[in-house]
């Protein structure tokens, strides 16, 4: 049997509780930039619930949902605004295209807010996103 995962830092737990309660699509990253939760509004946009998807590291997330740049090429993990938010401890904002579970591509804007605990440094980031001009080809 696999060992249980270590408990999440409280600030990440509270962030998840908040995201669960809002209707803005949002996901939560841990300090390794893995997606550890996304809310129902995000699930509606992505076409898959978090319970179905589970935790995804950055590469898994990128393969499943993107993002892609304006030319349709996958964006490198290191170039993601969310990665920048975690590494620099500063908010970041970006526009890009994602791919839903059905293969549909959608243009979105995303704002990433780093979650920085007082002692341990960065615990992750909260990313809110919203569609811009709807579905694209």
């Amino acid at each position: 049997m696999a060992a249980p995962r270590p408990q999440k830092p409280l600030e990440l737990i509270l962030a998840r509780n908040l995201l669960t309660s809002i209707s803005t699509p949002a996901f939560l990253l841990d300090d390794e930039a893995a997606v550890v939760f996304y809310n129902e509004a995000a699930a509606a946009m992505l076409g898959r619930t978090f319970e179905e998807a589970g935790r995804m590291d950055a590469e898994q997330w990128t393969r499943a949902f993107g993002p892609f740049d304006g030319g349709g090429s996958p964006v490198e993990v290191d170039a993601l605004a969310t990665t920048e938010a975690i590494r620099s401890g500063r908010p970041a904002h970006a526009e890009f295209t994602i791919k839903t579970a059905d293969g549909e591509r959608r243009s979105i804007e995303a704002s990433a807010f780093p979650i920085v605990a007082s002692e341990a440094g960065s615990s992750g980031a909260m990313v809110l996103f919203w569609p811009t001009n709807g579905a694209s080809s």
Binding site: A3, P4, R5, P6, Q7, K8, P9, L10, E11, I13, L14, R16, N17, L18, T20, S21, S118, E119, A120
Partner: protein, 292 residues
């Protein structure tokens, strides 16, 4: 490890003829370790009478969960503070804003107090709790931040064969479905997991809780669910609401034992925090860590 409750009340001292059995003093629990040394959990008003019981020769460690007044109010009336031979170490949550000493000194200073921290005749030091497990008087101690209003810790203390989890102010169900949530997402889970005794916030009855969501305290069903999920072996309901009389708490305890039984647990495993109560933890198997 022995335990004595010196204060089980929450929020504000609540003396009075209808509060005598459960007591009106705020949070304070004394642990007597196998080494014979004492750890004091929180410094609510119960610590005053505890201090009268100490002879002054002991080295005293006080572990504060947080700095709300009901957890530090007794400090200024703790008799060892006024004995030159006393050596007191106060542990508490760190803050980027000010040192633990400076934050406590906001209470032990004018105009709220006739004395300043620097005027206390005892030898007192202030320490931020370490981020990792540490050892104190032969016991292994771990603290973690838990869901409450403001920076707040819970403690897990293991001494020899016994483990106590002390989380007197805690609202783990705030925005979180406790019954179904994965353990890694439950505030305080690691602290309480498999503890021989869990001392936990249960300030509200279920019908009171909806009016107090977000206040940092738990209702009965949430407390029982947390204890069940963490597989605590015994549970002490703690931090009683100041409006809850002895008669009310008798009924509350009966309701709690019934609900605990409905969860498939032995009702004798549940007890109400009561001022003056003493417990001795029976030896048990080591608690398995979820970090294994």
């Amino acid at each position: 490890m022995k335990l004595k409750v010196w204060g089980a009340r929450g929020s504000v001292p609540s003396p009075g003829p209808h509060m005598n059995r459960y007591g009106g003093n705020t949070s304070c629990v004394q642990l007597t370790l196998a080494s014979g040394e004492h750890l004091i959990l929180d410094a609510g008003t119960g610590i005053r009478t505890l201090g009268l019981d100490l002879d002054g020769s002991e080295r005293i460690h006080i572990l504060l969960t947080h700095l709300h007044l009901d957890h530090i109010q007794g400090l200024m009336f703790f008799p060892p503070c006024f004995r030159s031979e006393s050596e007191i170490t106060i542990w508490g949550p760190s803050s980027p804003e000010a040192s633990l000493e400076d934050r406590i000194a906001r209470y032990i200073s004018a105009p709220l107090s006739p004395v300043e921290v620097r005027e206390l005749p005892c030898s007192v030091s202030f320490r931020d709790t370490p981020a990792s497990e540490w050892e104190l008087a032969g016991a292994r101690i771990r603290s973690e931040a838990v869901t409450h209003r403001g920076p707040t810790l819970g403690y897990r203390i293991t001494d020899g064969s016994g483990t106590i989890a002390y989380i007197p102010d805690h609202e783990p169900a705030l925005g979180a479905p406790l019954a179904d949530l994965e353990p890694e997402w439950i505030s305080g889970y690691d602290l309480a997991q498999g503890a021989d005794l869990l001392i936990h916030d249960c300030q509200y009855a279920d019908d009171e809780y909806p009016d107090h969501v977000g206040w940092g305290h738990s209702g009965l069903t949430d407390t029982l669910t947390f204890a069940r999920r963490t597989e605590a072996k015994r549970l002490m309901l703690f931090h009683h609401d100041p409006l809850h009389s002895d008669e009310y708490l008798d009924g509350f305890g009966a309701t709690a034992r019934g609900a605990w039984s409905d969860l498939g647990r032995d009702p004798t495993e549940l007890e109400m925090g009561m001022e003056g109560a003493e417990l001795e933890l029976a030896p048990s198997a080591p608690v398995q860590s979820v970090h294994a």
